[in-house]
């Protein structure tokens, strides 16, 4: 209980001043046409400010309360840090040194003083892009999940004394999960002797994906960001699996890839080609699978709720809510299932790589 209070206090202190700063009554037309595609895409994509809540005030103006996030840009050796509120939701051009930056469709471009955007024939933006290392909404959400994970597991770990005792409280909730990852994923796929080396990665990746899937399902601030449905995150996780797999590969593993024993030579050549492609498709599938599953879940739920506004009818609301609820239930299952599958397949690839041939 004491820890929860501390965490909340830290969050409040971190965000309170900026929250007030970020609240502004924007003079958007409150009755503008609702575009579900744009809303969904905006939600799915990463943003440079953290949207808290929107409402229409007494004068018919739409008020967006957002949390400005730090923008970190590197362009031509120039290093700039400022808050995203300087962009005023993309309405203002920010001048840093002699470079003008503009936020356009959640991407930052280098423009002239008027913020002109140039397009090529395919309607792609031609403007130069700085290296964008901003703390975006997804990064913020990730920090939050990391704090949560550290708090959960370190406080659980502290309860384990030097002498064996029965698990209590948080411990008894987390222990079966830890045992599940250890026994049913790591040890089952890699083997008892070799599993220990990869256990920290597998444990962390399982709980990281799971908790971020769950945070993504929270429909209000500070949840709802599509972190595990973002290709950058899944790519990095899949890349780590790929590197671990291939750096711990044994002789027999590489032998099976490039010179499959026990088959005729022409087939060996063909197989080595297929296996070599397979080296890359396996982590690629890991990356796409997680991203597609989570993003699809978000899109479906948002589409169901968009129905109410597309149809402009309250009558559709019960159907929408009921189906949305069902999707939420399904997504709760998908959240743990995808974490499980990602971890299981990572363990499987690692297990194949470290397997020693005994014949």
């Amino acid at each position: 209980m004491r820890h929860i209070k501390q965490v909340i206090l830290v969050l409040v202190v971190l965000f309170s001043t900026q929250l007030i700063y970020g609240a502004d009554a924007h003079k958007d037309d409150a009755s503008e046409e609702f575009d579900p595609m744009e809303m969904i895409m905006h939600h799915i994509a990463d943003t440079h400010e953290w949207h808290v809540i929107s409402y229409t005030n007494g004068e018919g103006h739409k008020v967006n309360i957002t949390l400005p996030l730090p923008i970190i840009l590197i362009y031509q050796g120039q290093f700039n840090v400022f808050m995203s509120s300087a962009f005023d939701h993309g309405h203002k051009v920010v001048k840093k040194g002699d470079v003008y930056y503009k936020l356009y469709h959640e991407k930052i471009y280098v423009t002239d003083a008027d913020g002109t955007i140039h397009y090529d024939d395919h309607h792609n933006v031609k403007n130069a892009k700085p290296w964008d290392f901003s703390i975006t909404r997804n990064v913020g959400s990730m920090f939050l999940s990391v704090l949560l994970l550290l708090w959960l597991f370190i406080s659980a770990a502290r309860k384990y004394g030097s002498t064996p005792s029965t698990p209590k409280g948080l411990q008894s909730f987390l222990e079966p999960l830890i045992l599940f990852v250890r026994d049913d994923i790591a040890v089952a796929q890699i083997g008892k002797e070799k599993a220990g080396r990869f256990m920290p990665f597998l444990m962390t990746v399982f709980f990281f994906i799971w908790i971020n899937n769950l945070i993504g399902l929270i429909p209000f601030f500070p949840g709802g960001s599509n972190l595990t449905g973002n290709i950058s995150v899944t790519m990095l996780l899949a890349m780590i699996t790929f590197l671990i797999t291939n750096f711990s590969g044994t002789k027999s593993y590489w032998g099976h890839i490039f010179w499959m024993p026990g088959v005729p030579v022409p087939i060996r050549i063909l197989l080595s080609f297929i296996e070599f492609i397979g080296l890359f498709t396996k982590p690629f599938a890991l990356m796409i699978r997680l991203m597609a599953n989570i993003t699809a879940g978000h899109i479906i739920i948002l589409s169901l709720f968009s129905l109410i506004f597309v149809m402009k009818s309250v009558a559709i609301a019960p159907v929408s809510i009921l189906m949305g609820l069902m999707m939420f239930m399904l997504e709760l299952l998908v959240a743990v299932l995808q974490a499980y599958i990602f971890t299981l397949l990572s363990a499987l690839f690692i297990g194949m790589a470290v397997h020693e041939e005994e014949h």
Partner: protein, 164 residues
């Protein structure tokens, strides 16, 4: 597709954050937890083995006890049987001894009685002879007086005679 284009900034932050997370959790969570779980499992396994061993030992002890008990019972039965036999023997012996003694006593008593009887008869013969002589003497004295008187005297004397 914007969705399929990785964003270098996010990749960078994910790498930093995830790397740090793995490091911190490994150091402060996974190592102590997995170690504690292993220790606990080993303790449980050890305790179970010890319990199993103790159980086997108890079983052995029980078998041993049973054996000793059976032995003791058999010994006891043997002892009782022997004691009974001994008692019987002693009794039989005592009986036969007593019989013999009794027979002896009877025989000696008989011979004593015989002897006494003979002595008594002998004595009586002497006494009868003496008495006869006495009576004869007295008769001779009284012959002259009366027959009745004689008869009365004889009776009187005869009455005085005591054969014992």
């Amino acid at each position: 597709m914007g969705l399929l284009t990785p964003d270098p900034g996010l990749v960078f932050w994910t790498l930093i954050t995830f790397g740090l997370l793995v490091f911190l959790l490994k150091k402060f969570a996974w190592k102590p937890i997995l170690h504690a779980l292993k220790v606990r499992e080993e303790t449980i396994e050890f305790s179970l083995a010890a319990a199993e061993k103790a159980k086997a030992e108890v079983q052995d002890l029980n078998i041993e006890k049973e054996k000793i008990m059976n032995q003791a019972k058999a010994d006891r039965d043997e002892l009782i049987k022997e004691a009974r036999e001994l008692k019987q023997n002693i009794l039989d012996e005592a009986k036969s001894k007593a019989q013999i003694e009794a027979d002896k006593i009877i025989v000696s008593a008989r011979s004593l009685i015989e002897r006494e009887k003979n002595e008594a008869i002998q004595e009586m013969k002497h006494k009868v002879a003496e008495l006869s002589v006495d009576i004869a003497g007295k008769l001779l004295e009284q012959e002259m007086e009366a027959n009745d008187k004689q008869k009365a005297i004889i009776d009187r004397y005869l009455q005085e005679v005591n054969f014992n």
